[in-house]
């Protein structure tokens, strides 16, 4: 899955422009946002692939994305066309044949970062360049409608997130949290690229939350490098933030370091915070909160409740009330968690002494890669389970006491990220208990998400380089294809 895309089923053509209402409907024959739907489920109502026939899946075509080195994109599908992004580039493919229709490469971009995908609205496909230009392309031809810069590399900001189209806005995130940056989220006008609002994830001097920082507040991190989810009824965006900087040296930034490693709920029209929840106060293990906030309505202890589910890199699985941000539960996601013994009633981790990075190195679980990461889990409304790739991995965390200098690629230490085991887990969000597990062989290097079908199939990557189909109810293997 690193270099190629495989079409496993034919896509039929529809027509017309992409309206906001089309995105609201969620997937069907189209897939219009990174996660497929605003609620972040990565779930399709399609039923063509079933546990009974999944074993007969065969590849239809392969498209080799030029210059790809570990794609992090989730393709969009609309009107029989797939839109795939790579670093500073977009490729429009005929979904039935895999043939290229058009490509756009911004060869003059001044940074080369991964790219996590595109957004689509009206007759435009949107993506962001590594050097912070929102670029709108005609979805039929790839012609440039506008390319508008929204942040400067000189301020430590680069970009890798998949933009999110909501109403008449395109929401863009920022990267750069490992070398010092003031993270932000911005809404840009979908027609012109002009800024509508910008909300910083690190407070300014004197603002509420600024008391949780020392002198490094101007470069605190809190990057917004993934994408987010959206509740149209509450008019609220849910977006996660990255680590505090310097990543591994917490001594130079005393306090909780708001609003890093957090989930932010924001009014989509103004960008104002509705609430925030910090998973890892004063993070020193580079546990960005970049994993999908999944929006589900479930019975919670006997009454219906609007929830947001979040599997965090720090090893815990969280359930929050998405109207108020109230913490409801925090259960262990992976078996190996050594830095905290649990989550207290207010949602703060119960710390275990002596688990900070040290000069000589400290062995901590999870590793820097985290118990899970950004790739995307799926929620299946039929089974009521979430399906998530987890990583049972520990690692060494080293501290550097070198003076932090912003934008010099200095993380305040280092960490190892080898070994361990990837396990696909089906989790009941109401209890945090596992319904089943699907352990894999490999090197713990995989960065693949999951997708579920209404007919009960989970499609995922396998740490050994396979694409696999798993039975959503039982966790049984249905099919695999070696992608090398």
């Amino acid at each position: 899955m690193r270099f190629i895309f495989l079409a496993l089923a034919l896509s039929s053509a529809l027509s017309a422009q992409v309206a906001y209402e089309d995105i609201l409907k969620g997937p069907g024959s189209n897939w219009l946002t990174y996660a497929g739907s605003y609620n972040g489920w990565r779930h399709t109502p399609n039923t063509q692939i079933t546990p009974e026939n999944a074993g007969s899946l065969v590849p239809k075509w392969v498209y080799r994305v030029p210059n790809a080195r570990g794609l992090q994109t989730s393709p969009l599908a609309h009107d029989g066309v797939l839109y795939v992004t790579n670093t500073n580039s977009v490729y429009a493919l005929d979904a039935r044949s895999g043939r290229l229709i058009w490509s756009y490469v911004d060869s003059r971009a001044e940074r080369q970062s991964p790219n996590r995908g595109a957004a689509i609205l009206g007759d435009k496909v949107y993506f962001i360049t590594s050097d912070n230009y929102l670029t709108a392309l005609d979805r039929s031809t790839g012609a440039v409608i506008f390319s508008k810069q929204y942040a400067r590399l000189e301020d430590g900001v680069s970009s890798s997130s998949a933009p999110l189209a909501v109403k008449d806005k395109i929401i863009v995130g920022s990267s750069g949290g490992d070398s010092g940056v003031r993270g932000f989220l911005a809404a840009l006008d979908a027609e012109t690229g002009e800024e509508v609002w910008r909300t910083y994830t690190i407070p300014a001097h004197g603002e509420p939350g600024s008391e949780t920082w020392g002198d490094l507040i101007d470069w605190g991190g809190g990057a917004t490098w993934l994408s987010g989810t959206f509740d149209p009824q509450l008019n609220t965006l849910y977006w996660t933030t990255g680590n505090a900087w310097p990543d591994f040296n917490g001594k130079v930034r005393p306090g909780d370091n708001l609003y890093t490693s957090s989930l932010l709920a924001l009014d989509v029209d103004t960008g104002k915070f509705t609430w925030h929840f910090q998973f890892t106060p004063h993070d020193t293990h580079d546990w960005d909160a970049q994993s999908w906030p999944m929006l589900v309505d479930l019975d919670w202890k006997g009454s219906p409740r609007k929830l947001v589910l979040h599997a965090n890199r720090n090893g815990f699985f969280y359930v929050l009330d998405r109207v108020t941000g109230e913490f409801l539960s925090g259960t262990q996601l992976t078996d190996n968690v050594t830095w905290a013994s649990g989550i207290d009633a207010k949602g703060r981790p119960i710390l275990i002494e002596g688990k900070e990075p040290t000069l000589e190195g400290n062995w901590v679980c999870p590793s820097v890669k985290g118990a899970t990461n950004w790739m995307g889990q799926t929620f299946h409304p039929g089974t009521g389970l979430i399906y998530i790739l987890t990583l049972e991995q520990c690692g060494w965390f080293n501290l550097s006491e070198q003076e932090p200098v912003p934008m010099k690629n200095f993380p305040g230490g280092g960490a190892t990220e080898e070994g361990g085991q990837v396990i696909l887990r089906a989790i009941d969000p109401t209890t945090g208990k596992r319904a089943w597990e699907y352990p894999m062989t490999g090197y713990g290097r995989m960065w693949t998400g999951t997708v579920s079908t209404a007919s009960g199939v989970i499609i995922t990557g396998d740490d050994a380089g396979q694409l696999a189909a798993i039975d959503a109810k039982s966790g049984s293997h249905l099919w695999n294809l070696n992608l090398g």
């Binding site: 043939r99 060869s107 012609a143």
Partner: protein, 268 residues
């Protein structure tokens, strides 16, 4: 070994597209507007007679589109200017080091994107030519989303192509393989429909056509009864006559200014 050779043969031209030079020179003349202007004077006096005022060649080779795998480094251009090419018509020069670097700086700019070079024409007059009915450019080409959808997008043309390449694409569109990926096709389908437009891509199994309304037709070749392909560029071939020399120059100036990023030495 045979496989390796093929890989190399295919890889080299691809690599060549990515940068003009294998190693950019650190000589301060490169990118310096004063040095480029001085180099321009030297070029017009000593080089344009054989290589053409825009570098598109004549008695001497085309400097902009050279049939070579590798782009020349600034140092290689310097050496060639200094020593000439023994056995060929290219003579040595007796220019000083500074003058030679000025010339190299000019050639470096000349074969780079048009937006990075001065142009003789009037941009505003060229804009009128582009959107006007005599040339009709915007019937097929778009800039920032305005204009036709079947021709290549020109929003960033000045930031991508050297001036001489743009000029040749206008006055001799069918001379080179500019029409690959831009073939004009008529597909008569087995269901009786006819689709006319530009084939963005095709092979013997499928074809991807965009029609004048901008609608994509993604077809399997099995569904096509008859496919006609125009054996030349769909771009009109009469612009050298249709436009006056001044109009063409103005149009080129306008196109050279179409760039998504700031151009010129001050741009990062």
């Amino acid at each position: 070994m045979k496989t390796c050779l093929w890989v190399l043969l295919f890889a080299l031209p691809l690599a060549a597209q990515h940068g003009r030079y294998e190693s950019e020179s650190t000589n301060p003349a490169i990118g310096d507007p004063v040095a480029i202007a001085a180099g321009s004077e030297l070029y017009l006096r000593s080089c344009a007679g054989c290589h053409g005022p825009d570098g598109s060649g004549g008695r001497g080779p085309n400097l902009v589109q050279r049939p070579m795998w590798h782009p020349l480094s600034d140092e290689a251009i310097f050496t060639t200017v200094r020593n000439g090419l023994p056995g060929a018509d290219m003579p040595p020069t007796n220019l000083s080091d500074d003058e030679t670097w000025q010339l190299v700086a000019f050639i470096h700019a000349l074969i780079g994107p048009a937006a990075e070079n001065p142009t003789a024409g009037d941009v505003t007059a060229g804009e009128a030519v582009f959107w006007g009915s005599t040339a009709g450019c915007s019937n097929c080409h778009a800039i920032h989303g305005k204009g036709g959808k079947i021709g290549p997008d020109l929003t960033n043309i000045g930031g991508l192509r050297p001036l001489a390449v743009i000029k040749k694409a206008i006055v001799k569109p069918s001379d080179e393989l500019y029409y690959l990926g831009n073939e004009s096709v008529t597909a008569k389908l087995r269901n009786g429909e006819t689709v006319r437009g530009i084939a963005k891509n095709r092979d013997i199994y499928s074809i991807q056509i965009i029609d004048r309304a901008g609608k994509l037709h993604l077809l399997a070749m099995n569904d096509i009864a008859e496919l006609e392909i125009l054996q030349r560029s769909p771009m009109p071939g009469d612009y050298a006559e249709r436009l006056t020399a001044q109009e063409l120059e103005n149009l080129l100036a306008f196109l050279a200014h179409q760039t998504l990023r700031p151009a010129g030495p001050e741009a990062k």
